[in-house]
Symmetry: C2
Subunit: 375 residues, 2 copies
Amino acid sequence: MHFADVLPLQSGASIRAYDLSYETYGTLNADRSNAVLICHALNASHHVAGVYLDAQGGVVPKSEGWWDTMIGPGKPVDTNVFFVIGVNNLGSCFGSTGPMQRNPDSGEIYGADFPVVTVQDWVQAQARLLDALGITTLAAVMGGSLGGMQALSWTLQYPERVRHAVVVASAPNLTAENIAFNEVARRAIVTDPDFHGGHYGRHGVLPQRGLRIARMIGHITYLSDDVMNEKFGRQLREVAIGHASGYKFSTQDVEFQIESYLRYQGDKFSEYFDANTYLLITRALDYFDPAAEHGGKLTPALARARAKFLLVSFKTDWRFSPARSREIVKALLDNQRDVSYAEIDAPHGHDAFLLDDPRYMGVVRSYFESKVTPC
Amino acid sequence: MHFADVLPLQSGASIRAYDLSYETYGTLNADRSNAVLICHALNASHHVAGVYLDAQGGVVPKSEGWWDTMIGPGKPVDTNVFFVIGVNNLGSCFGSTGPMQRNPDSGEIYGADFPVVTVQDWVQAQARLLDALGITTLAAVMGGSLGGMQALSWTLQYPERVRHAVVVASAPNLTAENIAFNEVARRAIVTDPDFHGGHYGRHGVLPQRGLRIARMIGHITYLSDDVMNEKFGRQLREVAIGHASGYKFSTQDVEFQIESYLRYQGDKFSEYFDANTYLLITRALDYFDPAAEHGGKLTPALARARAKFLLVSFKTDWRFSPARSREIVKALLDNQRDVSYAEIDAPHGHDAFLLDDPRYMGVVRSYFESKVTPC
């Protein structure tokens, strides 16, 4: 959808005109009361559920939406009941206006000139999309990780437009350690000689070295120590002939399976993800902090919220630990809000929010069935 | 000290001749029974204690040894009682033979051709240094982190030569997550265009970009989440004028103090540390695994040890967690060994082993006074 109106940004800059890519699933009901907006995290997109078909009508392999376990007919967020909207955020690289596209003012590819966007800016742009779709009030806004921050921000920016907010594996802001991991990833990208200050597009190159490192760092923080040990442990990639230890004794070759896995993830990511988008999205994470304008106090910051809430966290998530979700729960309870909270004992770390854990799916299903479903 | 004899390595390669840099503190007693060997971790050296003096006899600023809080006259490892030896490991970049030096066979700088060395190799080389110093039996061998692995390996490679082993903030092997962090750091170095396959010396450049990233990653894992939050939290580097949020809204500038700290640490490290050494030392960490040749079982692996042990871990150390030290304690107890164990409730993460915590210092002091001191 094209938007011709200027979008003023939190930074003071603005975007003159922009497109948002979105997908919808299910049917908007007559009183437009069954819309559920899904907000995405770092490297996801508007393609939330379902599969794509090729020209012959066959299913494109691996084309499942990133939350396809959660959203669809008969699934926890049931598209037989709800009208679900997935939207790609501004600054991303999957269709919505972002650094890979041309600045309408200059005709040049934005690159590093794309303005810094924040969670608040994304929510504002999403609200305009809902306006255009004729949806005044959301049955629910829902997201995991950075998507959960957007869901929380919706309840503060547009308290009257949200009946329910489902905030999964999220946090009221990043810790110093979270910011530190983001910063190392950004430095890997920015100091890649192919980055060219963010204008690699003009030089016909891509800072893939930096992107690989960034993704490898990210991947470590998405998984739990336990699940890594269970999945890879100290298993070697292949046993070298002639060494009783099985080691190849090389500093540069792959020795352990975890190394092979991380290199593969880094390579894959560097082929489809835009480096400037990575910088923008990690900065949006860093900046999110609704308590900041209340002296760091979350309770007054969340006083504006009118929605009912479901919060979900995962015990082994050390990126956005359960303690961070509990901070949100406490601040909402301090404000006498209606809050459900589930802490799932899943082994998968932060990644658990994307996986098909039956307890997790059950919690979301029962919340939607018992509380969100329009009467 | 120069060694003219070939050192056969665990990999099957060998080093034809080599030097080891070492320092000693205190006096070797008449029966040569008061020697304590200190093994160093990743970026440390033989300069364990004391300060250096300049030509005028003044103290060189910041020249304290890396374990100066622990070792010296009247300190927990009291050099009025013990003869302490610090030795720089092979492959390091602080004086002992390593990748920055010339291969005597080719006359070329070793660079990437320096052979892969392991904890076992280091211990073997250290044993030759003790032979040369006329020391048959150590009162104690002691180290933290990778240094603790060397201390543990001493008790297995030379069980008759070690009376006590003090193993601090260490582990019986690396977890998949540990290896993963090492691998990302190595990839950052190896994919730096200035790395030149490890022969940057021949090109007159240094892979400083990669080293910076490697050090930044390392630093995050040395600190606890709590201590980072306490020290830096979400504090901004400087407040920009005109934005209520205090943000500059930049993806590349420093916004948060933690970013500034990490960049500084990365810059500093990249100026003094050798990239090939970084690869070698992280690989030595990855490879260490005494249980491997016993089907992954630590109890039979440690059956050879004859020493008495003190193990120390730190509650907030998530790099080498207390659970890893407890694995060693359990395996030693299974073998009816004499083991003391202290788990210190210090907030500083893995870094705690280098810091001056009174409980930690007290534990080591009392162990040395009551158990190690020669009668």
